[in-house]
């Protein structure tokens, strides 16, 4: 509890200092100005003139007493919010930096670690698990996408091109860290042990789905995996993440919150307020932006004019980093470091991962309508994060071609089986349409359920045969 009172104690202490520094208690400060009023130089009140007048006074003594000049003899003044240095130059800050913020990467396009890269070595076990999960995610996406095209599920959206972001970030966290996803992060659930069957159950909306068939496909949620249920509206999870971090902070837990969003999500008002809140509240939350270049058909050039998302971190007082999102090791290292800072220093961190959305936005989209096929193919093949990481793992003699083909065929088989099973499992019963709206069904909902059941009894031929009554 003592920690939580520190904030108010600090505030009152800070206020006392500020009032003192305003010089309101210091008569000599004001009198020195009135003295200069009667000087012959009174008409040319440029700052330089004021400085030079002061120089003729006893400068040494004044400098000792006077904290209102910085080391370069520039006048500093207090305003609410702190001290600022004045400048006689009217200079506008440029709309874009001279150089864009650098992007941290460990492995080059051939999976070779660069000489001066700062990264922590990961064990063979972790590396192999990471790689296997990336492959599983890729295959899962391909097969479920095909299933949608065949009409077996109604909707799907893929994570192709962002496997490193999904798996590597999950690998750097613990299961106590709370995840608030947007919708392109099923890899985190996969890493945490969500089975292919569980994924299939949600997509088919059957009785075994934890969401009881109420949400559309890919809106996974699992409280036991600390993965908050996906909600379609963009960026609503960002302020919720701050709230979850606030809860962890209150309990003093050794865990943080990680929330994901795309480049498009940063335009929402919730993004601004969540980052602002997190900074003010010193909440242990990692804001992970998957800048994949596209928000459905809107490219980033039409989404914002800033230097990506990382440049906004400092605007909110948040420590930030830009990483190569297609480099699994870079993402792993950055998140590991971010987590450490977020928890031990109780502060938010902003991570911008640059990547590319190789797939269409979803099964309702055909991205060849607004971007060149050549561009998509380039990123799918030459810049594939899975292949890149594979090269590094193979070079360490931790993976062979045999392992590869075994894994791929095994996952494929498991997935097809999971889909077959999920398809056959019963749908949730009618009663589940009315439960969980509240903790207990109220009378009006029970009444509505009764009316519906009567209607079904009267017209049984209109009711779907695979939904139990």
């Amino acid at each position: 509890m003592a920690v939580w009172f520190t904030r108010s104690r600090f505030m009152s202490h800070h206020l006392k200092r500020e009032v003192g520094l305003l010089g309101l208690n210091n008569p000599s400060f004001w009198s020195s100005f009135t003295h200069h009023n009667s000087s012959p130089l009174e008409n040319c009140r440029t700052p330089e003139t004021v400085f030079s007048i002061r120089r003729f006074e006893s400068t040494k003594a004044e400098k000792q007493l006077d904290s209102r000049f910085d080391d370069d003899e520039n006048l500093i003044l207090d305003f609410p919010g702190g001290k600022v240095t004045f400048t006689p130059e009217m200079r506008f800050i440029s709309e874009s930096p001279e150089k864009r913020t650098h992007c941290y990467r460990v492995l080059d396009d051939n999976g070779q670690p660069s000489m001066c890269s700062s990264f922590e070595q990961i064990s063979k076990e972790v590396a192999v698990k990471m790689y296997s999960n990336m492959v599983t995610l890729q295959i899962m996406d391909t097969i479920f996408y095909e299933a949608q095209r065949q009409g077996r599920i109604s909707f799907y959206l893929t994570t192709i091109g962002e496997e490193a972001i999904n798996i590597a970030s999950a690998a750097a966290l613990t299961t106590n860290d709370v995840i608030l996803p947007q919708y392109r992060e099923p890899g985190i659930l996969l890493w945490r042990g969500f089975t292919l069957q569980e994924f299939a159950n949600q997509c088919f909306g059957n009785k075994a789905d934890y969401g009881k068939g109420r949400q559309m496909p890919i809106h996974y949620g699992s409280n036991k995996h600390n993965y908050f249920t996906v909600s379609s509206p963009i960026a609503t999870q960002l302020p919720q993440a701050v709230g979850a971090a606030y809860s962890l902070k209150m309990d003093g837990k050794d865990a943080c919150v990680v929330t994901y969003f795309g480049d498009g999500g940063t335009s929402e008002g919730d993004f601004h307020a969540a980052l602002n809140f997190a900074a003010v509240m010193e909440a242990p939350v990692i804001f992970f932006c998957r800048n994949n270049g596209w928000a459905i058909s809107t490219p980033t050039t039409e989404q914002f004019r800033s230097d990506g998302i990382v440049s906004r971190g400092q605007a909110y007082g948040i420590r930030s980093i830009r990483v190569d999102g297609n480099d699994a090791l870079a993402v792993y290292n950055a998140i590991q470091a971010a987590r450490e800072m977020a928890i031990s220093e109780q502060r938010p961190i902003l991570v911008e991962a640059l990547t590319y959305r190789v797939g269409h936005h979803s099964t309702s989209d055909d991205s060849t309508k607004y971007r060149p096929v050549g561009e998509i193919e380039h990123w799918r093949v030459a810049r594939d994060p899975v292949t890149r990481f594979k090269k590094w793992v193979e070079r360490n003699d931790w993976w062979s071609d045999k392992d590869e083909s075994e894994l791929r065929s095994s996952v494929r088989k498991q997935l097809l089986h999971a889909i077959q099973v999920a398809e056959k499992v019963e749908k949730p019963p009618l009663a589940d349409m009315f439960t969980d709206v509240y903790d207990r069904p109220p009378s009006n909902l029970s009444e509505q359920e009764g009316l519906l059941r009567e209607s079904i009894k009267r017209h049984p031929q209109d009711y779907p045969s695979d939904v139990p009554v």
Partner: protein
Amino acid sequence: MLLHELLLFEALQEGLEEEMERDPRVCVMGEDVGHYGGSYKVTKGLATKYGDLRVLDTPIAENSFTGMAIGAAMTGLRPIVEGMNMGFLLLAFNQISNNCGMLHYTSGGQFTIPVVIRGPGGVGRQLGAEHSQRLESYFQSIPGIQMVACSTPYNAKGLMKAAIRSENPVILFEHVLLYNLKERIPDEEYVLSLEEAEMVRPGEHVTILTYSRMRYHVMQAAKTLVNKGYDPEVIDIRSLKPFDLHTIGNSVKKTHRVLIVEECMRTGGIGASLTAAISENFHDYLDSPIVCLSSQDVPTPYAGTLEEWTVVQPAQIVAAVEQLCR
């Protein structure tokens, strides 16, 4: 029974403090709720007692601190969100509708959202159109939330406690002009039900249904009506979602005449929904059509005289009852 006297805003504060004392997961967030003590003093003294993390001052972004409360609730806390004025919660509509009301359902019951969203609303004294909103009309359709309106210090404290203890998201509507009402309430702890209406004055001739500030206009009209020989039954419906159709129904079955007096606009207000619910359920017991007195479909004017005429006055209530009982 031991009683103590206090004002409505103090009753709310007492309820809030008792719940914060009882359950360490209860926390408050909103603008100026901490050191300032809240714009209507409902959270006065709480930040000093519980610290400024548990009574949190937020930046000005309603959608965001409501979202924050939802995230905190899903992670195990029991937050109370204060809208400085209910009207500002329109900015939080996305979080309230799409997430607060929905996530328990869409997550398959895995996550609960035990938040309380409260604040002053209704038509005040020349607060201007934007600060005179009646949000109960807009929120009543959202599935998954409950709504209650307090009107006396006694029910304010009881409803506050009930709302905090509920596992569902609850919106507690307070009224800007009722905060200084005085009443003697029990020393002993009590919690009211979120789904019960309050019988204010039993009677035989007509059922008058009302809530919040209009209760007082109705009671004023009741005095006149009694002098004129009428015997109105006055019910403060208190629960706006769901309606307490049990109490209301029993009354309709007794008097056969219904008058609804509300502060909402005529179109799409609580009165409109209540009229539909009563017609549907108790049609056979009605001797005449339901009469609903509401505010006009206009933004609340600033001029005091005009503002007075957008709100239902006791004289209109008296006239309506006389008409109804003819």
